[in-house]
């Protein structure tokens, strides 16, 4: 058990290196969602005047931005894995006498940890743009969901990396999460959406996660109902994609 924790911490430390020891390494992952947030709120801010947003437009899209940061981080984990495969580092991991699921957990949990960086930066940008304080409980739930979602996307991206074994598959890793969070109530509540988009958003499990993150910001009240739905959606996605990724790890070399 303690040996497993030491391995996980080693993964975390290596992932942090990529941010801390590369000059400017943290910038793209943090900046891109911030640009998106500032851009969206500046450009589409007037949309908040429509009835149905139950609050400020920036507060409405801030949780979307935070999740978007998590998808960038998760996809980056897959791109890094592909790089590690190309350069042979991944062989070193595979040669360790450890469960493959533990190795995957190491990769995925480092994505979760790193996802707090863009999320926090975005939160500060949001506050600067006038978003109100959502409350400690709501923030805690939001962070759990964001970190979990980064892990889920990391599983997906790792799956792609293990399949294609090249960094050239990066767009494929990025686009999965991008689609998943875009076809939700990202920009507008169900009632304001075109019916086709609302239909997709209703069955998209990521929408549950988004609403779980958003509840403290808009409408501003945290309910158990929204929370457990978000957690269940996250757990299901995590189990499915995590299971597939572990399977793919085990099959490496066949």
């Amino acid at each position: 058990m303690t040996a497993s924790i030491r391995i996980l911490s080693a993964f975390q430390r290596r992932a942090l290196n990529e941010i801390l020891r590369v000059p400017g390494g943290a910038i793209p992952g943090v900046l891109a969602p911030a640009i998106f947030l500032i851009g969206l709120s500046g450009v589409f801010g007037a949309a908040g005047d429509l009835k149905g947003y139950q609050g400020d437009f920036t507060a409405y899209i801030l949780p979307f931005g935070m999740l978007q940061g998590a998808t960038f981080t998760g996809a980056a984990t897959g791109v890094n894995l592909a790089r590690d495969i190309e350069q042979g580092w991944f062989d070193r991991l595979l040669l360790a006498p450890q469960r493959r699921s533990l190795l995957l957990l190491g990769l995925v949990s480092s994505a979760s940890l790193r996802a707090t960086l863009p999320a926090t930066f975005l939160l500060l940008v949001g506050f600067a743009l006038g978003v109100g304080w959502p409350g400690i409980g709501a923030l805690a739930i939001a962070y759990v969901l964001i970190m979990g979602f980064a892990g889920v996307i990391a599983c997906y991206a790792s799956l792609v990396a293990l399949r294609f074994r090249t960094q050239q598959a990066a767009p494929l890793m990025q686009i999965g999460g991008f689609i998943a969070i875009l076809f939700t109530t990202a920009y507008a509540p169900l009632a304001l959406q075109s019916s086709w988009l609302a239909d997709i958003a209703r069955i998209n499990p990521v929408n549950k996660i988004l609403e779980g993150v958003r509840q403290g910001f808009v409408p501003g009240t945290v309910t158990w109902d929204t929370t457990w739905q978000a957690l269940v959606a996250l757990a299901v996605l995590g189990l499915v994609l995590g299971g597939l990724a572990v399977r793919s790890m085990r099959r490496t070399g066949r």
Binding site: A3, R14, Q87, F90, D91, R92, G253
Partner: protein, 327 residues
């Protein structure tokens, strides 16, 4: 019980290419085994199967007593592996990498420090230990890679082309380390495309070509099989090569000449025959510009078994990017 044992080991890739086609191995504990062959012969594929990174598609292999396919974790615990690329994270320092490797192998933290320091000292990286690996030279990387492979005191060590691309001094340092490991009783499986390396280090040598083991034995026995030394001859300007071949036919069998020579012939009695050969050529009005008596090497064994020279094969492999279009 052999430390490494393979029976009819086979690996077929998609499209039906058999990179390894029925290789049998039996390597004793404490032996240094040199696995020799040009690029693309199946060396790396064989190693990757033996170290559990690649599943055999046929046959079986046991390493340190465990089956590589059904008991991979038991194998991983007992082997050390330094792969061709020396995959090291350039952002980490030498010490950090050793510690990470120790964690991956589940070595208790109280042991990690002492063992790590020992290894760093052993491979001569004490001064560079806290520098990032990105600043290391090729030789330093290989040495660090070797130290990492030894962190859990493995009984069997796999070295995949440990000196490819290294300068002669770094190469010697690594050779010394391999000899030291052998003295400590470690089994070493060493792949190489350098004959001299196998000759210097290996107790036994296996030669692989096109996925098959074509020869195996101690370097002395293998060279003995090829038998006699040969003479490389360069003729002075205007020498008629075809006539010379005819003249030499009475002395011994012709063979492909090395670079810089026009002809080569095996000489049963070695140096004592040189005078006769020069005189015979002289009588035929051909002047010898230079000649060299060559004792049998592993290259001769390779030529004998495969009809090709080994050294240099694949070294011109062009790694440069995309093919250029017409400007």
């Amino acid at each position: 019980m052999p430390a490494i044992e393979a029976v009819e080991l086979e690996r077929e890739f998609k499209g039906g290419v058999k990179a390894v086609d029925g290789v049998d191995l039996a390597i004793d504990a404490g032996e240094v085994y040199g696995f020799l062959g040009p690029n693309g012969a199946g060396k790396t594929t064989t190693v990757r199967m033996l170290v559990t990174l690649l599943r055999p598609t046929g046959g079986s292999a046991r390493v340190a007593g465990y089956d590589v396919a059904s008991q991979p974790d038991a194998v991983r615990r007992r082997i050390g592996v330094a792969l061709q690329e020396a995959a090291l994270d350039p952002l980490m320092t030498g010490t950090e990498l050793i510690e990470l490797q120790a964690k991956l192998h589940g070595i208790p933290p109280e042991k990690v420090k002492r063992r790590g320091e020992e290894l760093i000292e052993r491979v001569g990286l004490v001064e560079a230990r806290d520098r990032r690996v990105g600043t290391y030279s090729g030789g330093m990387r290989r040495r660090l890679d070797l130290a990492m492979a030894l962190i859990h005191e493995p009984g069997v060590l796999f070295l995949d082309e440990p000196t490819t691309g290294l300068d002669p001094v770094s190469r010697m340092t690594l050779w010394d380390e391999v000899r030291r490991l052998k003295n400590e009783g470690t089994t070493v499986f060493l792949t190489t495309q350098y004959l001299e390396e196998a000759d210097q280090l290996a107790d036994r040598v296996g030669i692989i070509s096109d996925g098959r083991l074509v020869a195996e034995g101690t370097p002395a026995v293998l060279k003995g099989q090829v038998g006699r030394p040969h003479l490389e001859i360069a003729l002075a300007d205007g020498g008629d090569r075809e006539r010379a071949v005819e003249v030499l036919a009475s002395f011994g069998a012709p063979r492909p000449p090395a670079e810089g020579f026009e002809l080569a012939v095996t000489v049963a009695e070695g140096a004592t025959e040189i005078a006769g050969i020069v005189r015979a050529l002289d009588d035929a009005h051909m002047t010898v510009a230079s000649l060299e008596l060559v004792e049998p090497t592993l290259d001769d064994v390779f030529v004998e078994k495969t009809g090709r020279h080994l050294e240099g094969a694949g070294e011109t492999d062009d790694a440069g990017g995309e093919p250029a279009g017409s400007p």
